[in-house]
Symmetry: C2
Subunit: 211 residues, 2 copies
DNA sequence: ATATCAATCGCATGAATATGCAGTTTTCCA
DNA sequence: TGGAAAACTGCATATTCATGCGATTGATAT
């Protein structure tokens, strides 16, 4: 049995969802809410397995609502059901803890399937949403791979130290080497990354996924 | 009609897939290969819409094969079909251009559905793969949101300049302000980010998604 | 209307960095 | 066993940074 709650401001839609889902075997609809604030206040009483969450809501958005809900019940699964399918909303919702994302014209059968899938550890997404997630993934994390440059272990340690705010001296102390050796590594790092300053090195290295 | 090719080293599996997919309406199986090299050499002749790609292959891996295939035919869609479901393989495959990822015990009906979905612009993923992708997404990109600290526009410009390797003087020139004003902004940036060096500031800012 | 914030500019100085040149040791593979 | 790669050390110095203190201006908010 999957316990769910619904957060959706438009009453006809909310009622429709409630009727549909209440009538479904294996799903128990604990409650439905028109906004996040009400849902959050009852969250610990409802203890849903899955929260069916709209994005465009009066007051707190579904994005923020997702974040807050995960704070209160980290084990609950948020499944976004939204008309918005732009990168920014998808990105934000997933980063805030949503585990699935469906567009609103999802057929009832698929919705039911998705709720069960979400509860069982999947991440149901509408086809075009999934593609967008994959593309976002690639776009944001590109360069993390195939970076033609490779830093040695020591170089990585040194650079990581700098990016943590350490000076040459404190890096040297931490690695039990002399300051001149730190300098030596830095030179090599600069050559490899083709830069001439710490900031540029740190920036490039992070963007390439080297540190 | 969806044109596909199969890349899978184990012949029984490859033959099984070929038989299954050849018999499916709407799918035309152009060829099947035991390794990426052969597939790549025939890619322009086959012109598949979807490449069904194994990961663990003799010679070039499916990951590298995906990258090469996308170089030759950028519009082709790669659908990974692998026994591996670890973060690293998923991550690499998606970054190299795969648009879908299924585990090998996927039932035939789902596989067929996935091929069509992939061809139509979706990104079919097995349930647990999808969840892993979402979690990876969050893990790698977390902090890009909710960063309690906010840099002003000017501060962002200054910090971006530094991360690009510019000195105070060149940043000042670029922004038509004096070096002392650059210093002023840097101070404020350091305070907000609670750091005392460029490297730490750049590092924190990037990880928080501020620049 | 006054307070707050962002942005601008200036000066000063000890501390840290970038980079040139010149070596030795360790490790690991062919 | 010889040779490349990585790691290590040293010294010198012009340049750049980090941060102390002080001041003015415009805009926005209360």
């Amino acid at each position: 049995m999957t316990r769910i709650v619904i957060v959706e401001d438009k009453k006809p839609i909310r009622d429709g969802l409630r009727v549909l889902l209440s009538a479904t075997d294996g799903i128990e609809c604990m409650a439905d809410y028109g906004n996040c604030e009400d849902m959050l206040s009852q969250l610990e009483a409802d203890r849903p397995d899955v929260i069916l969450m709209d994005i465009g809501l009066p007051g707190m958005s579904g994005i923020a609502g997702t974040r807050e809900a995960k704070k209160i019940l980290p084990d609950t699964t948020v499944l976004v059901l939204s008309v918005y399918d732009d990168d920014e909303n998808i990105f934000q919702a997933l980063c805030m803890g949503a585990s699935g994302y469906l567009v609103k014209n999802t057929p009832p059968a698929r919705l039911i399937e998705a709720i069960k899938e979400a509860h069982e550890g999947g991440s149901p997404m509408s086809a075009n949403i999934a593609r967008k997630v994959v593309n976002l993934f690639r776009k944001k994390l590109a360069g993390s791979v195939e970076s033609d440059v490779h830093l040695t272990e020591r170089e990585t340690e040194v650079l990581a130290g700098l990016s943590d705010g350490h000076s040459y001296i404190s890096v040297a102390d931490a690695l039990f080497i002399s300051v001149d050796t730190v300098r030596y590594h830095i030179r090599n790092i600069y050559q490899k990354l083709e830069v001439h300053s710490q900031s540029a090195a740190v920036s490039k290295a992070i963007r390439k996924g080297l540190i």
